[in-house]
């Protein structure tokens, strides 16, 4: 490993420690996993096509009015009193944010 990359890694690690909220954008590989997770695992309550089930529909149309931050907060903290579980522990903030934007159709992967 080159000195430069090691240095960069360290800086990134320190940044992560200092401000977990600024965890970096998921890599392409992770993004693909997240996409799969949305379809498969979120899909068990929201439907694989996000048209809803036990959970509310998460279609682009319906989510257009809801800010991404509100969605990622719902994802991380869940909705107490409903079956929507908190995904913190399974997802970090950047990942939840990526999913929120993905659901809204704002990421290019879809």
């Amino acid at each position: 490993m080159s000195r430069g990359r090691l240095g960069g890694g360290l800086v990134a690690a320190l940044l992560l420690l200092a401000t977990p909220a600024l965890a970096s954008e998921p890599t392409a590989l992770r993004a693909a996993e997240l996409k799969d997770m949305v379809i498969q695992d979120c899909g068990s309550c929201h439907g694989m096509t996000m048209k809803g089930g036990l959970g509310l529909p998460l279609t682009r149309d319906r989510l257009a009015e809801i800010p991404a931050e509100a969605l990622s907060a719902a994802i991380l903290d869940g909705r107490p009193g409903t079956p929507m579980p908190p995904w913190r522990g399974m997802l970090n903030e950047a990942e939840a944010d990526w999913i929120a934007r993905y659901l809204k159709g704002e990421t290019d992967v879809r």
Partner: protein
């Protein structure tokens, strides 16, 4: 695809074309949920016979069988109800009967297929032959709102029981005269019933509650006694863990006077004494249980799990309640189905894109087959059991 599988598929095709009669007692289907497709399988030699596609959104799909074990009725998430001919491996009939549905059941006499709908909330009943609508039961709760319907189960005498998720009710629909369903409504049964099961004799209906620690029980032989709460406060006030996947209550797991139920948000399977309806113990398990199923003879309990433990399956010895083995059949094990007499079990490993078959005596894998994102596995022997 391996040469072996090609050969087996080819053999299957040949068998389908030849004129020799094909029995159906060892047939079954595997749901390929993402592709809206079924694989028709045969469990005597662990063989895939062919595929049937065009079934819509099959996330959470479930299947019941006609009493002659020739047709599978597939309940899709998108409200599709599809009747599949297992012998000809084609769609015999298909209707899209609602916007969003969760499952269904077939009547004791095999003439009615009922579907539980989320949107619009209610139950629709179809003629099993023609799939013509015969009864429409909107689930308008005591609160005046339409509720999602869950846990639709068939009992004897063409009676169906189901639960209203939003308003917390259990309804019993007597369809002896399908054109004039007789409804009995039990209200205030508890918060958010999420799924239900019925005993093999069609007598005891149990609805799991999500919003409360406990289970709602209705004795269909004595409906006048109303709904009783059993296993109240089994969480003993402890905060449940986040539930990443709702447990399933499909399939009555009871032997002797003990029933086994997956706990919600806890790493436990609950044991209930069915004489007193009191807790008779708990079995600690490796994660949050999704299915807790008994081998047909009742001697082994098989449990699979929600995220993050969904790569494991645990097998317990029922008489001693001891763990026999923790298996790792593949990634994201969604469903398990025993062969009719229980010598083998088939399990779908969604994220490994395969179905694996284990011998239940040796607990070793005996076969494996490719499947695209497999979820439910259903064998035709279900046709002859109440409440499956």
């Amino acid at each position: 695809m391996s040469a072996r599988w090609t050969a087996i598929l080819a053999a299957g095709l040949l068998a389908a074309c030849s004129s020799a009669p094909r029995p159906t007692g060892d047939l079954g289907v595997i749901v390929e949920r993402a592709d809206g497709r079924l694989i028709v399988v045969e469990s005597t030699t662990n063989t895939q016979l062919g595929r049937v596609s065009g079934l819509g959104d099959l996330s959470h799909a479930s299947v019941v069988f006609s009493r002659d074990e020739r047709f599978a009725y597939v309940f899709g998430r998108d409200g599709g109800l599809t009747k599949v001919d297992l012998l000809e491996r084609r769609i015999a009939k298909r209707v899209v009967q609602s916007g969003n549905s969760i499952g269904g059941a077939i009547s004791q006499d095999g003439r009615l297929v009922a579907v539980a709908n989320y949107e619009p909330g209610g139950v629709k009943v179809f003629d099993a032959d023609s799939l013509d609508l015969v009864a429409d039961i909107p689930a308008v709760g005591a609160d005046g709102e339409r509720s999602k319907v869950v846990g639709l189960e068939d009992s004897t005498d063409n009676v169906f029981a189901f639960s209203l998720y939003d308003s917390g009710e259990i309804w019993v629909a007597d369809l002896k005269d399908p054109k004039a369903p007789k409804l009995t409504k039990h209200t205030g049964i508890g918060k958010q019933p999420y799924d239900a099961l019925i005993s093999l004799d069609g007598r005891t209906y149990l609805a799991g509650l999500f919003g409360e620690d406990g289970i709602a029980m209705l004795d269909l032989w004595n409906p006048g006694q109303g709904v009783r709460r059993v296993l109240d406060h089994y969480g003993r006030g402890q905060e449940p863990l986040p539930v990443y996947k709702m447990p399933h209550l499909e399939g009555w797991a009871a032997v002797g006077n003990h029933a086994f139920l997956p706990a919600v948000g806890r790493h436990e399977v609950l044991v209930v004494d069915m004489d007193t309806w009191k807790e008779a113990g708990r079995i600690p398990v490796a994660g949050q249980p999704v299915f807790a199923m008994l081998r047909p003879d009742g001697r082994q309990l098989w449990v699979n799990f929600a995220l993050p433990d969904n790569g494991k399956v645990q097998v317990f010895d029922v008489p001693t309640r001891k763990l026999l083995k923790t298996l790792e059949p593949g990634k994201a094990v969604l469903h398990m189905e025993f062969t009719p007499r229980g010598e083998r079990v088939w399990m779908s490993a969604r994220d490994s894109d395969k179905v694996v078959v284990y011998d239940t005596a040796t607990l070793e894998k005996v076969a494996e087959m490719p499947a695209t994102k497999p979820s439910g596995i259903f064998f035709t022997a279900r046709a002859h059991r109440i409440g499956l």
